[in-house]
């Protein structure tokens, strides 16, 4: 997994506590063109995910339904784009358009929870590590380093093997496993970010003031420090989400993520590549490829827009 875009701009903007909160308004974000573009693109993707069953009902094609008689030629080659199959059919005679729409559901269904779980774990670890210097910080930072140094794909493969029960069937739903695998790696970025922010905040007068009037440390962390780091962490959620969507697609492409017949953009592209059918019938790549591009571009544009609001020079 390629690491997330750098944080320096977001961190540089974070000089005074509350700065992010003060300037990060909905209106300021909407004033950014890239954020507006991103919101429209993401809106389209969410709409596609929501309307997938409607499209399936309208065409009468289920996502996993095979139309071998209509969509496959005599020699087994799938039919190209037509009125009935707008983006053509795949090697099993399934509707590529309908599968692409259902793929949007999987993408969001994995990306959003995985990033959120990573945010919760990472922020908690970062808060504690940043607030308690010395042994606790060293221990938690070592834990973060250990998690970071595991190779993502190889470890994911081992975890998939771990998930295989004695009868060869998966123990937990593969989709759930993908969510867990991604959050297992992604929390480290949130932990590093939060720790860095808390280390700065800890030396601020308001922390000393709160401690001197007898505020307990857990209360101080949750009530005073957490609200100050949350805006930046939330922005980073938007930055990390497209990275995780691509991570799901990559795992599914390698066959360790979402399993067939469930449609995922990654495993659709994998199938096109494995059968080499895309070389003669490129529409196999068109649906999932463009969908993935639009989704990730949309989220990246939103993230970039928010960063511009936080740090106009960057």
């Amino acid at each position: 997994m390629s690491s997330a875009p750098p944080l320096e701009p977001a961190l540089a903007a974070y000089e005074a506590p509350g700065a992010a909160g003060r300037f990060l308004t909905v209106r300021a974000i909407l004033a950014e063109r890239s954020a507006r573009t991103g919101l429209i693109l993401v809106g389209l993707v969410v709409l596609a995910a929501l309307l997938a069953p409607v499209a399936a009902a309208l065409t009468g094609h289920g996502p996993d339904q095979q139309f071998r008689a209509e969509a496959l030629a005599e020699n087994g080659l799938p039919a190209g784009p037509s009125a009935r199959f707008l983006l053509g059919a795949d090697g099993n005679g399934r509707d590529v358009l309908i599968r692409t729409l259902y793929g949007a559901r999987i993408s969001l269904l994995v990306g959003v929870p995985a990033t959120t779980i990573a945010l919760i774990i990472g922020t908690a670890v970062g808060l504690v590590a940043g607030f308690f210097p010395g042994r606790i910080d060293r221990l938690l930072s070592l834990g973060t380093d250990i998690a970071l140094s595991f190779p993502f794909v190889v470890t994911a493969l081992s975890l998939v093997a771990l998930n295989r029960g004695s009868d060869g069937r998966p123990i937990v739903d593969p989709v759930l496993l993908v969510i867990l695998v991604i959050s297992l790696f992604a929390w480290t970025y949130f932990a590093r970010l939060t720790r860095g922010l808390v280390v700065v905040l800890r030396n601020r007068p308001f922390v000393e003031a709160a401690l001197s009037i007898g505020v307990s440390r857990p209360r101080l962390i949750v009530r005073e420090i957490l609200p100050n780091v949350l805006p930046v962490v939330a922005v980073y959620w938007a930055v990390q989400l497209p990275v995780n969507i691509l991570a799901e697609a990559t795992l599914s492409f390698l066959g360790v993520g979402v399993q067939a017949p469930t449609a995922s953009w990654g495993n659709m592209i994998a199938e096109a590549q494995r059968t080499s059918l895309y070389q003669v019938q490129p529409w196999f790549l068109l649906g999932p490829g463009i969908a993935m591009f639009v989704t990730v571009l949309g989220f990246n544009a939103i993230g970039s827009g928010i960063r511009n609001v936080l740090d106009p020079q960057g």
Binding site: M1, S2, S3, P5, P6, E8, P9, L142, D145, I146, L148, S149, F150, P151, F152, V153, V154, T155, L157, S158, L159, A161, L162, S166, P242, L246, A249, T250, F253, L254, G266, I269, A270, A272, Q273, Y278, Q279, P282, L285, G289, M292, F293, V296, L297, N300, A301, S304, Q313, G314
Partner: protein, 329 residues
């Protein structure tokens, strides 16, 4: 400074040890019945028991870990553990070869892939980043920024497939055979063939990385270009090229080195996809095949290798950035 470096080295060692133990535990739990995986399909119970005994799979885990670290699974008699001299990573169950030997035989492929891609993406990112930072918000800056966002939004596996479709498949249907579709030739055998075989894989990795680095270089340059000494240098009549690539870039280099080290280390993950698409027989592919086939000495070996590369890169980045900026030491 020295104290700091020693502390970092110690932490790096602790990290590696933890990765080793966790991977060992993980693979032992994950592959519940390795004997059944390794045995022929219709093996008798006796054969299975024999394999289990030979691999010491019936012993408690701490004895297995000790054997792994000290002797290694000694099928061939000689000790092959990590705590032996020379240190080795054990013996592959499936390929009947020492893991160290397997990894070393595949390492040149992955190293050529990663380092070649690094050279391409760093050169292009620095050129594009500096060009964009010279005139912020100019049409050129906007175009380069749009380009890097587009590159960032395509996963490596799709870039790879598209490159191989257009530059290998389509070109060769017109009789132009510039780029082979797959395979690898050693650098020492034929440098030209080596570069020809790796061109598309390099490009696949570089495109994704340029999406990240063009913006990093641009941001770092913008930070520096406003500084007084840059104005002084310009006022003194230093040529613009020397101002940009001499003064400014060397001052802006720290974040670029930091992220570059991390990305290079993380390439083990990206390389797996690229190796798969272009049929390169590298370490990534070895790791995936081992993990899929239950060959856990190889899984542990490749995981340790990846972790070691990561830890060493982080360490090197730390030392370099500290040497460049004594105030931080």
């Amino acid at each position: 400074m020295i104290k700091h470096i020693a502390a970092h080295a110690l932490r790096a060692l602790a990290t590696l040890l933890a990765v080793l133990v966790i991977t060992f535990a993980l693979t032992r739990i994950a592959y519940r019945n390795p004997a059944a995986v390794l045995a022929p399909r219709n093996a008798t119970q006796e054969t299975l028991d024999g394999i289990t005994r030979a691999l010491r799979l019936d012993e408690p885990w701490y004895l297995q870990l000790w054997h792994y670290l000290y002797r290694g699974p000694d099928i061939q008699g000689a000790p092959m553990g990590l705590f032996n001299w020379p240190p080795a990573l054990g013996y592959s169950f499936r390929q009947q070869r020492p893991v160290t030997e397997l990894i070393l035989s595949k390492l040149p492929v992955t190293l050529s892939l990663a380092l070649g891609a690094l050279v391409i993406w760093m050169t292009l990112s620095i050129l594009f980043g500096v060009a964009a930072a010279r005139k912020p918000d100019s049409p050129l800056d906007r175009a380069l920024s749009a380009l890097s966002y587009a590159a960032l939004s395509v996963p490596a596996f799709l870039t790879g497939i598209l490159l191989s479709y257009f530059l290998y498949f389509t070109l060769s249907t017109y009789g132009i055979r510039w780029f082979p579709g797959s395979g690898y030739t050693g650098l020492t055998e034929d440098p030209l063939e080596w570069a020809r075989h790796l061109a598309l894989p390099w490009l696949t990795i570089a495109i994704a990385e340029i999406g990240v680095f063009q913006r990093v270089v641009r941001a770092a340059m913008l930070d520096v270009l406003g500084a007084d000494y840059i104005r002084t240098a310009r006022a003194k009549g230093v040529t613009e090229r020397r101002v940009l690539f001499g003064h400014a870039l060397s001052a802006a280099l720290n974040p670029i080195i930091t992220l570059g080290g991390l990305e290079l280390a993380a390439l083990m993950g990206g390389a797996i996809v690229t190796e798969q698409i272009f049929g390169l027989d590298g370490v990534g592919r070895l790791a995936v095949e081992a993990a899929a086939g239950g060959d856990f000495p190889v899984v542990i070996g490749t995981t340790i290798l990846a972790a070691a590369i990561f830890v060493i890169s982080t360490f090197a980045v730390d030392v370099i950035t500290r040497l460049r900026d004594p105030a931080a030491g």
